[in-house]
């Protein structure tokens, strides 16, 4: 997994609640193997018309097209468990999403793929969205080690993250490799488990 330590980037505001994973990547692309670049499929039906031409969706507009941070309203990534939603964001270049809340499965998938989900209070998120809309091109900084988002105006927003996924992101560690080291404990549980 790619490491996440500190990121400074333009942030793209997606000022909508309940952005579901069907919006992030439509289901007609889910059969593609992980080897392909999912970036062009991100928000496919919002970014492109049926004939392939670009819409004026915010991610198509400079300077937001180069954003590596998304700021969204509540319940971002709700709906389907499709991990391809995270792959599409990651392959596009997004490394962090800031929102007041996330779909639980999306949040878990993000942490396992080097994409940092940052939960901030709704008022703070709305300020960041307003700021990103009013001053395009201004950059946010996210520092994972100190668990802080620094807004363009210098206001600092602290956020929570569980210590283990934090360590995995900081060091690029893989959860499965860690669990495999616990093989004996799992085997012991299985010996005693009665179903």
């Amino acid at each position: 997994m790619e490491r996440f330590e500190r990121l400074t980037s333009v942030a793209v505001p997606i000022a909508q609640p309940n952005v579901d994973t069907d919006q992030i990547i439509p289901s007609r692309y889910l059969q593609k193997p992980r080897g392909v670049d999912f970036g062009p499929l991100l928000f496919r039906d919002l970014r492109f018309r049926a004939d392939g031409s670009e819409t004026d969706f915010i991610l198509n507009r400079p300077p937001y097209r180069d954003a590596r941070i998304v700021i969204a309203e509540r319940n971002f990534g709700c709906g389907s468990s499709r991990e391809q939603a995270v792959w599409a964001l990651f392959d596009y270049g997004i490394r962090a999403v800031i929102a007041p809340s996330f779909g639980d499965i999306f949040r878990g998938n993000s942490l396992k793929n080097g994409l940092l989900p940052v939960v901030l209070p709704e008022t703070a998120v709305m300020q960041l969205i307003d700021g990103a809309q009013a001053g395009p091109g201004a950059t946010l900084t996210i520092d994972l080690a100190s668990q802080v988002v620094v807004a363009p105006d210098g206001v600092r927003h602290a956020f929570d993250i569980d210590p283990f996924p934090k360590r995995c992101l900081l060091e690029g560690l893989d959860e499965l490799a860690y669990t495999l080291t616990l093989h004996d404990r799992i085997a012991e549980f299985e010996r005693q488990y009665t179903g």
């Binding site: 609640p17 289901s27 499965i105 878990g108 569980d162 283990f164 799992i186």
Partner: protein
Amino acid sequence: MTPRTLFEKIWSRHRIFEREDGQALLYVDLHLLQDGSAPAFAMLRARGLPVHAPQRTFGTPDHYIPTGTRDLASIADPEKRAMADALAADTRSAGITFFGLSDPRQGIVHIVGPEQGLSQPGMLIVCGDSHTSTHGALGALAFGIGTTEVAHVLATQTIWQRKPRTLRIAVEGALGRGVSAKDVILAIIANIGAAGATGHVIEYAGSAIRAMSMEGRLTICNMSIEAGARAGMISPDDTTYEYLAGRPHAPRGEAWDASLQRWRALRSDPGATFDRELVLNAHDIAPMVTWGTSPEDALPIDGRVPDPALARDAEQRESMTRALDYMALTPGTPLADIAVDRVFIGSCTNSRVEDLRAAAAIAAGRKVAPGVEAWVVPGSGLVKAQAEREGLDRIFAAAGFQWRHAGCSMCLGTNGDQVPPGQRCASTSNRNFVGRQGPGARTHLMSPAMAAAAAVTGRFTDVRTLLPQ
């Protein structure tokens, strides 16, 4: 001893250990696979890891398979065909039980698990699909996971989780005539919102839930994810045990008696505390229809399309305006005046035989309205066979519905069963998201009886007006 919830009992029984940071490693009793699992098996192969517990793993294809035929070769897109083929090959090489298209037990994985008696009270069940919450209806802790987690479970039969909070939703009283489990869960989601249960496991309780069949309970738990919940569950009772008894994978003989004793101890103890509680009056719930692009946008059928001008704030106004624009609806229009192009009766939410009976009762002796295309897609080969024994297929055919093979079909259209752009569909599925049933498709969620009523009248119709007196 401190009274404990059903959730707490299952959680503690499956906890291998808990780290200081609050993350617990949990043991998985049952891992269900569908035909989206190919990338997870690829992750396993890339690491040279075997499947840890194939005997606790079951697979059946549902997302990519055709519902007009049982021939996989008919899947035109080679990548989609490869997904269906991969599940057959991956399960075979790992020694995992597999119900393929030639097997009458094939179906939507969330229909098949309970139907086969694989899903049982007290189990921890996962599947790489968000509607895994369905299986909680049997008194299990069941939740959807992503591809990386599917690979983790295949390799270790365990999963890391932070303990969720608990929410008890009691529905008290008797449901009115023509009001079904689907209306109850739509009313709940409309009440608490699409993020209303984020970070929580919901336990549904109360006399209306206790009086519900297992089919209805499965519908309720299925849509827990649409309220943001990690899982939904219902304490097992005699309805659960009667449903399970004699199913192929349910315990038998002495093992049944021993299981029953253990299951009876699972239910939430009197006085057990939940982080949140909510009580709804069953009598207040009417047949529901969604008008927007989130399952929380649900209203009673006698309602009207809401007016963004009356929204509580600018954010809600924008969001409503966007939804109404996509749905091509005018504020103030009575829901009962909205005409439909398509009707889809199916999906893991509403494709069990009881759902088909409810729809057939409305379709019987009536005709699908001119210009409307109506489909019935049973949840499994066994549901299809049962419905055919009861003559439901003939009722649907006589009314002008298409009677198809089992699969996810038009709920999300991954197999090509899509609603054409701009068309409006009355659907018994679970998500009315933008483009969910196909690019530009307009989805309205409702119960099977309400969908059948829309099919025969050509517009959303209060099913209570079509019920026999």
